[in-house]
Symmetry: C2
Subunit: 320 residues, 2 copies
Amino acid sequence: MVSNVVSQLFGIKYPIVQGGMIWCSGWELASAVSNCGGLGLIGSGSMYPHILREQIQKCKLNTSYPFGVNIPLLYPNIDEHIQIVIEEKVKIVFTSAGNPDKYTALLKQHGIIVVHVVSNLKFALKAQAAGVDAIVAEGFEAGGHNGREETTTMCLIPLIKSKVNIPLIAAGGIGSGKAMAAAICLGADGVQIGSLFAASEESSAHINFKNEIVNAKDGDTMLTLKELTPVRLIKNPFYNEVIRAIEQNASKDELTALLGRGRAKKGMFEGDIEQGELEIGQVSASIDQIRSVKEIMDFLIQDYVGTLSKMNNFGMLTEI
Amino acid sequence: MVSNVVSQLFGIKYPIVQGGMIWCSGWELASAVSNCGGLGLIGSGSMYPHILREQIQKCKLNTSYPFGVNIPLLYPNIDEHIQIVIEEKVKIVFTSAGNPDKYTALLKQHGIIVVHVVSNLKFALKAQAAGVDAIVAEGFEAGGHNGREETTTMCLIPLIKSKVNIPLIAAGGIGSGKAMAAAICLGADGVQIGSLFAASEESSAHINFKNEIVNAKDGDTMLTLKELTPVRLIKNPFYNEVIRAIEQNASKDELTALLGRGRAKKGMFEGDIEQGELEIGQVSASIDQIRSVKEIMDFLIQDYVGTLSKMNNFGMLTEI
């Protein structure tokens, strides 16, 4: 088999990472992806510490393949989460939404492979300097929290690839083997896929949210709450309420109160698609069915290989 | 040579279109691109009718290869522009920023190949129904005027490709052969490139603006003026003035007055990088030199071919 630095780093078959997503990626999703040759990630951002421990233990029972945990560094229980992944001997940790300087050395001391998620060149360089093993570069089109520069995957990947030496994983807008091939062309060594797995059978999201993903059309998500931390949401009544508050010059405290911590759970886990916060990527416009992880992985690989086989140089090679 | 529908449609060597850009793409740029095997476009949006006619005539004198004219349909002198391209027997017209129903039939009656620029699926379908010969789908990362859905090239191309039958040209974020290959993977039949040519030697932009493009970093452009027509600009003092006006709830009329018609000329053509409007794409972050069109075309083709040659299936083919 042809080597790939991302597959080698994680000890997996395909350079496909399932993004760690709040309320979507528990042990069922993570273990299913790992069992199909990708890298499954438990998204710890929506988990109390004892839940995270339980999820890791269940994931270990359900797959013998490598899996990881995504830890948003701004999470209130962050120190407990870091302690748990160390105690549970999790082999791979993806950190996001925070400073990679803070925990990378500690995690690596425990032999953990550390990957940091960035949305601009500055933090890619910072993460590399902090000693992470790989970088996820996430474009503007991605769901959930996102960068202030609004740089898209198409522009972000070549830029970071030109300045960084460690393995680079592209995220944002990747929902097919075509987009996976595009990301590799741009210079990525692998891909991280969120939305497509959020809508999978094994996702712990509420069926109402999965149906919203399937029904979303282009323009149905928008990056908002730029006054706090930018986040891409489906435009539902809750989103409209946020926009009204912003238009009325709501303070950061007022926006934080409106958002609350419960809105994401209400929307994505409890299925209140009117009053809940629904985080998903632009690629939802191209997702039109709920499938099993196995079906999704087979689709990605066949579509990727099929895309490569159709690529040609339009005779350019002979012209130069 | 392997056939390509975009090359065949226009009768050109490479499926590379130079985007029609105000204040950048006169006859010098358009003829240079056409002479190198791409399709050069005169950007009529910044030209008075008599200037457009002169530019077309000079372009004919300077290339024997196909070239075209881009006509923004919201332009005040639109009927005169349409009349001129017909009288001057221009063979290819790209229309943008307006309703494709209005002029497509008239242009086609005169044997003109018509391409319409869209930023969402709805208008792609509308353009196809109006009888255009091809579509340019332009992502959020593109410079200048842009769509309200904010859909990126990565998400827009596969979506439109899945629903539209006519040739599809990708635009937005394409500044290398890598990105060109990515666009083809996503389903595009060709690419339209703006920023890279705006910064070329043959671009009619002021050297100060070209230097701004070369110096731009990620996050230095932003889509703004969403209250009027969204436009991607470099964040300079004029941009800051626009943002302040928006924050102070300026009316549409006040914003229109602030923008004026002269700001784009002042910035891009006269070189006032402080008080002028500087329209450019996110990909400017990866542009680090001013080159001739010949150098740019050679780079694109070599980089494209080189990218394809490095693609591999990571052994996936043997796994399924």
